[in-house]
């Protein structure tokens, strides 16, 4: 059974991903030190912390961009051994980036179609011939993509090159590209950075809808505390590469270590 199928068979509320004692350093800089937490199937798990706390590094570890010097990553019940990012995509993990990483030379439609990559199988010979299997596969995947376009309400910009879109829409297209992979675990790196209140509301609604409609598990990094406390089920707090808090939004909000990290603490 592939990792994707294994992940799919996990019950709601059971453990989907677990990181154990992850330590990651670049030369002398320790980005993460002994961080452990788990993500349950079907929940929205937020990772918060001040700048430089190691949040993005954590996502990059889950993603396979960084390989930690120490610690284990367990996904869908099996331990991963230094996989490449493109293998991870096939296991059912998708993500968006802090700085938008769309394919600027392509249209919205093509960007989201590219997200279907792991679901398309036709080889080069069939592609070259086009008529028949390759075209059928293209049309089938196009139908899926159109569902996502409808879901995100971006029908009007279907054929627009993404470079021409405003920032908020680009973020939405990027979410669409990640959703197109039908991920089991979706990693969102600051999905609301730089947005105004309405755009944040839209994005929060999409995130909750993704969770409810597709049953996707979501792990997100976000700086807007209001949003985090509203939409997440559980929160991990990192500071200087260490985990200083973990729990429901209410628990985290009242945690003294978290308050100290965010507001600073008087040194005497």
């Amino acid at each position: 059974m592939g990792a994707r199928a294994a992940a799919q068979s996990i019950d709601q509320g059971a453990e989907l991903l677990r990181v154990d004692d992850i330590s990651l350093s670049f030369g002398g800089v320790k980005a993460l030190t002994d961080v452990s937490f788990d993500v349950l199937r079907g929940e929205v798990r937020a990772i918060i912390g001040p700048n430089g706390a190691g949040k993005s590094s954590m996502l990059n570890v889950i993603n396979g961009f960084y390989h930690p010097q120490q610690g284990e990553v367990w996904f869908a019940g099996s331990q991963r051994r230094n996989p490449k990012p493109h293998n991870i995509a096939h296991q059912g993990i998708a993500r968006t980036f802090q700085n938008i990483a769309l394919f600027n030379g392509m249209s919205t439609l093509d960007n989201i179609m590219t997200g279907r990559f792991t679901h398309m199988k036709q080889n080069m010979l069939m592609q070259a011939f086009w008529r028949g299997p390759a075209e059928r596969e293209e049309v089938q995947n196009r139908e899926k993509v159109e569902e996502i376009i409808d879901f995100l309400e971006i029908q009007a910009i279907r054929k627009t090159p993404v470079g021409r879109l405003p920032y908020g829409l680009q973020k939405r297209v990027e979410l669409g590209r990640a959703l197109a992979a039908e991920p089991i675990l979706l990693l969102l790196d600051e999905p609301m950075a730089g947005m105004n209140v309405e755009e944040k509301e839209d994005m929060s609604r999409f995130i909750l809808d993704v969770k409810d409609e597709f049953g996707t598990t979501i792990t997100l990094i976000e700086h807007d505390m209001g949003v985090v406390m509203d939409i997440s089920d559980r929160v991990v707090v990192l500071d200087y590469g260490r985990k200083i808090g973990d729990g429901t939004p209410d628990e985290v909000r009242n945690d003294q270590a978290v308050i100290d990290a965010y507001l600073g603490v008087a040194h005497d």
Binding site: P85, A89, L102, F103, M106, M124, W130, E138, V139, R177
Partner: protein
């Protein structure tokens, strides 16, 4: 009024993803194909074939190939001339070793051999990008030309070091050699170009093409989506080299007939084809054609105007030709970096409204 998309509705995704979604475009395309296949062969003469049409067709194949690598996958290559030489020498060795082999098969095999060589030289592309990759392909260019000069086996130990295309027929007509009819050579090249252009279009509009463009635009995001960078880059190298190898084989066997590798497939050839795709438009099938047409026609046109029209001496005309072509390239890069293909797109957008913009 004249060029409209109004009323041209698509009710299936299949209709929406076809190459020419507009009916008028489709009709124009079929008319052009019919003209090229059914009219041109009957009116073609030696001058048009050897000065304009055949070099255009062959170089269009090469620029399609380079466009797949550089335009679609974003890997800059300066080794085009070297890979064309691989195609030419593979073609020569096959023609002389298997005299009875069908010419079409020879050309295709030459393409596959070049694809294998391209794969080999594409391996460094995983580690190096941009200018550094360009320099690595430059090494391929010089190495390959040197190899074909130095190893006599490649030119069958001929005294001159040249390779000469023996006479070969295709369906009873001579396509190579001194007695080949221009119309036959023309149709031979046109058929190959048409099929290869269709394949290029099919490859670039589907899964593989999108993975190439994803690597070009944002390789990190491409990897996250599941695109294997090494496989994708190597497939671009292989397909691109196949096209370039076919072009090299035709350039040698059908167009020139005799080749001295350093002169014909030197670094100049690499640059010429790179200019074609830059002027034509990176990442565009139409751009490959437009660029090839521009770079082949422009010098011929200038020469005809200056020597034929104004009566200037040929040497001065030749120098001015260099300057004008060079100047045009610079102007293009500044004014329209996306090339003729972009100009064409803009023109079509304008044309949709013209002459009643409201």
């Amino acid at each position: 009024m004249f060029y409209r998309q109004a009323g041209d509705f698509k009710t299936t995704y299949r209709g929406d993803i076809q190459t020419f979604p507009l009916r008028q475009d489709r009709i124009a395309y079929y008319l052009m194909l019919a003209f090229a296949f059914l009219v041109v062969p009957f009116v073609i003469n030696d001058y048009w074939a050897s000065a304009v049409l055949i070099p255009f067709l062959i170089l269009a194949i090469a620029s399609l190939g380079l466009n797949i690598l550089t335009g679609y996958c974003g890997l800059v290559s300066l080794g085009t001339g070297g890979f064309m030489a691989v195609g030419a020498y593979a073609c020569y060795k096959l023609m002389t070793a298997f005299p009875d082999l069908n010419m079409m098969i020879v050309v295709l095999l030459a393409g596959f051999i070049t694809a294998a060589v391209g794969l080999l030289f594409g391996i460094p592309s995983l580690r190096i990008k941009g200018f550094y990759l360009a320099v690595a392909t430059l090494a391929a260019q010089f190495f390959l030309v040197w190899l074909f000069n130095k190893v006599p086996w490649f030119y069958n130990y001929s005294a001159s070091g040249q390779i000469n295309a023996p006479e070969r027929t295709m369906l009873g007509f001579e396509v190579t050699g001194a007695n080949a009819e221009p119309a036959v050579s023309y149709l031979f090249c046109l058929t190959i170009l048409t099929v290869l252009a269709l394949i290029a279009r099919n490859l670039t509009r589907g899964r593989i093409g999108r993975s190439w463009m994803a690597i070009r635009d944002m390789d990190i995001a491409a990897e996250i989506i599941g695109v294997n960078p090494l496989k994708t880059k190597l497939s671009a190298f292989a397909v691109s080299s196949f096209y370039i190898g076919v072009a090299g084989a035709l350039f040698f066997s059908v167009y020139l007939g005799a080749v001295e590798v350093g002169e014909v497939f030197g670094i100049n050839q690499s640059f010429l084809i790179l200019f074609m795709i830059i002027i034509g438009g990176l990442g565009s099938i139409f751009g490959s054609f437009a660029g090839a047409a521009f770079m082949v026609l422009m010098p011929v046109l200038l020469k005809n105007i200056m020597v034929g029209g104004l009566g200037w001496p040929t040497d001065i005309a030749a120098h001015i030709e260099f300057m004008v072509v060079g100047g045009l390239i610079v102007i293009f890069l500044i004014v329209e970096p996306h090339g003729l293909a972009q100009l064409w797109r803009v023109a079509k957008e304008k044309l949709l409204l013209w002459p009643f913009p409201h």
